[in-house]
């Protein structure tokens, strides 16, 4: 991380100079860690399960209410179409999903149409939580949830051991930084 000298950040109480951003630590795009390759598999399997359930429910309703079978079938088709579209977008998005841990904050990059980079500083972390769905567990993946008083950060597709290590790191950093200040 580049050194921050006092010249770049003015500590005078009453100045309002234009900001020189050259000396600030930059959150660069290179150091992001991509997701585990199994993440795409997990998302696609979860969607496939959802699609199967949708087909089952749609068909069941169409059979049980035979007077107008096209209504549940139409709804089913629309849901399946959206799920398929979501799967395609996820496949593209997976190349963009990545996280980065720096000394003082954790960032998460995601999105296909709207690409976003979200960052939460460790000092502001209230708690962290790991969630693991059944499919995720099968593939040894987990989601780390970092909660602050403001925004929450969800880091998907971490290997379970990494998620645990990252959680400990986040919580410890948060605790030590709060004690320092």
């Amino acid at each position: 991380m580049p050194d921050i000298s006092n010249e770049t950040i003015s500590d005078e109480p009453f100045s309002n100079e234009p900001v020189d951003v050259t000396g600030l630590p930059i959150l660069d795009d290179v150091s992001f860690v991509p997701m585990h390759p199994n993440f795409l598999r997990v998302s696609l399997i979860e969607r496939a399960i959802f699609a199967v359930l949708t087909i089952a429910v749609g068909t069941a309703v169409a059979v049980l209410v035979p007077s107008q079978p096209w209504i549940p079938l139409l709804v089913m088709g629309a849901v399946l179409l959206l799920t398929g579209l979501g799967a395609v977008l996820k496949t593209i998005e997976v190349n963009n999903i990545a996280y980065q841990v720096r000394e003082h904050d954790v960032s998460y990059r995601s999105g296909v149409l709207v690409k976003t980079v979200e960052t939460v500083p460790f000092v502001r972390v209230q708690h962290a939580r790991i969630t693991q769905g059944p499919v995720q567990r099968r593939f040894g993946l987990a989601t780390l949830e970092v909660n602050s008083a403001g925004p929450d950060l969800n880091i998907h597709g971490l290997p379970a051991s990494d998620a645990e290590r990252l959680k400990v790191l986040v919580v410890e950093r948060a605790g030590s930084l709060v004690e320092e200040s």
Binding site: N16, D105, E118, A149
Partner: protein, 494 residues
């Protein structure tokens, strides 16, 4: 505890005023539900074998209600021990609630009409987080409530005083600032209150009038002269007069209703700067008093509507953690600046933001509007014929509006603050101290990505500031500076 009123000792368990029994009974009624009670009553009245039985049962139920309420009142005590507020309540199951005073976000006092003859107030405490429920003390004497408010405010101030001295430790030791006496920043006279009401959009008033539209047919029957029906050939000439007149009437009624509302809610609006923060008192029939410490303010919004601009009034909104923002309408320039600089906690802030956003937003909006308008016209051609293309007139309107908005749009970044300003006919501006930032987000839509633009969002514990259509480099610079400030700043964010 030095500031506690000598006459009121909150260290001893206190009970609410006896009047609270009434409020507790009322609350039970509300919990059961008025509708359910009405249904039960209706059922009883239609099925009951005799009226005499009812005459016995109903008062008995009422008596039981008050009996239970009285028990609940008797069992409800509160006191302050070791900087914690302890509340004990419950008749069957005993409930003990302990809230550290420095966790209390705000203490609101409200005096409803029914409280007034007895000199009582209702106290609502709001705490951060979801683990401690917010709670209400229904009726206590004013001086007890004041003591509670002051005790909570006292505790909110302590961490601030400590960090203040740490901040100025360049060689000589700065003594902690002496407790300032209360100072009234503004007290609105009736004329100012009327001005506030008249410069507001009378939407609230309209909301009251709007349901009348549903019964328009019945209202029409009340009009003394004959109204033409829709298939009448003379309807066109009649409508030319009737529609504007009806609109005018609706607007007038809405304005009057809004005036009444503002007078009731904001009468004698007073903002006081106290040793521990700000207090806002207002109200005609029921008065409300909200107190909050300054560090709890996360964002500062100032705005001027078109009409407000004509008479030089501003509305200031201080967004504090949790519900219960400070909304202070009708400030003149000095009052606005004073409240704003108080909330900025010594930072100069950004008075006149000077950075602009990309004009590409005009193209985007006009393009999107054109697409939607074309679809609408195609859909309307069949039923409306040649009238359908009239929809396209929306495009120049959107173009002019967005162009003006984009031209007047400003944002800026200083070493410790960010500002964001929108202007069309009125204007609104947001100020944010960078150390209050709890998280950031830089996002690029497809449109923005093609043009090297981005949106940066600075998130605080109460709402966020979003600056869109700026270059990616600027957005990242804002993000990096906000993160740097949040990560290195020693002063607390709340």
């Amino acid at each position: 505890m030095t500031q506690l009123d000598a006459a009121v000792s909150l260290h001893e368990p206190q009970r609410q005023s006896v009047m609270a029994i009434f409020f507790l009974a009322l609350r039970t009624v509300r919990q059961v539900g008025l509708v359910q009670i009405a249904i039960a009553l209706g059922f009883l009245l239609s099925r009951s074998p005799s009226i005499a039985l009812l005459l016995v049962v109903i008062p008995l139920v009422g008596l039981a209600l008050f009996g239970v309420a009285a028990l609940r009142w008797w069992r409800y005590t509160f006191c302050i021990v070791d900087d914690e507020l302890h509340v004990r309540r419950g008749v069957v199951a005993l409930q003990t609630l302990s809230v550290p005073l420095d966790r209390v976000q705000s203490v609101s006092l409200e005096q409803k009409l029914i409280h007034r003859p007895f000199g009582l107030v209702q106290v609502s405490l709001e705490t951060a987080g979801t683990d401690v429920a917010e709670f209400t003390i229904d009726a206590v004497e004013r001086r007890v409530a004041d003591a509670l408010q002051r005790a909570a405010a006292d505790h909110q101030r302590k961490p601030l005083a400590r960090t203040d001295t740490a901040q100025f430790s360049n060689g000589q030791e700065q003594p902690p600032p002496p407790a300032r006496p209360d100072r009234v920043i503004l007290r609105h006279r009736p004329r100012r209150i009327a001005a506030i009401a008249l410069t507001q959009m009378p939407l609230t008033g309209f909301a009251v009038v709007a349901p009348l539209i549903a019964v328009a047919d019945d209202l029409g029957d009340l009009v003394p002269f004959g109204l033409p029906s829709l298939d009448d050939s003379a309807i066109g000439a009649w409508l030319i007069w009737a529609i504007p007149l009806a609109l005018l009437a609706v607007v007038l009624v809405s304005v009057v209703l809004n005036l009444v509302r503002v007078i009731l809610v904001d009468w004698n609006l007073t903002v006081t700067s106290t040793a521990s923060g700000l207090r806002r008192d207002a109200g005609l029939l029921s008065t409300t008093s909200i107190a909050s410490s300054i560090p709890r303010v996360q964002r500062i919004a100032t705005k001027q509507g078109v009409l407000e601009r004509l008479i030089g009034l501003h509305t200031v909104v201080l967004h504090t953690i949790g519900a219960g923002n400070f909304v202070i309408p009708g400030c003149d320039n000095n009052q606005m600046e004073e409240i704003r600089s108080l909330a900025l906690e010594g930072s100069p802030g950004i008075n006149v933001p000077s950075r602009t956003v990309s004009k590409q937003v005009v193209f985007k909006e006009v393009r999107n509007t054109s697409i939607v308008a074309t679809v609408v016209v195609l859909a309307l051609v069949a039923p409306l014929g040649w009238w359908a293309p009239l929809v396209f007139t929306i495009i120049p309107v959107v173009w002019l509006t967005v162009r003006r908005g984009a031209r007047l749009r400003r944002w800026d970044l200083s070493h410790d603050a960010a500002a964001n300003r929108h202007e069309l006919l009125g204007w609104s501006k947001e100020d944010l101290l960078l150390r209050k930032v709890n998280g950031t987000r830089v996002s690029q839509t497809l449109f923005e990505r093609k043009r090297g633009l981005a949106t940066v969002t600075l998130k605080t514990a109460d709402g966020s500031m979003s600056i869109g259509m700026i270059t990616l480099i600027e957005a990242q610079a804002v993000r990096d500076r906000a993160l740097y400030t949040a990560e290195t700043e020693r002063r607390s964010w709340m």
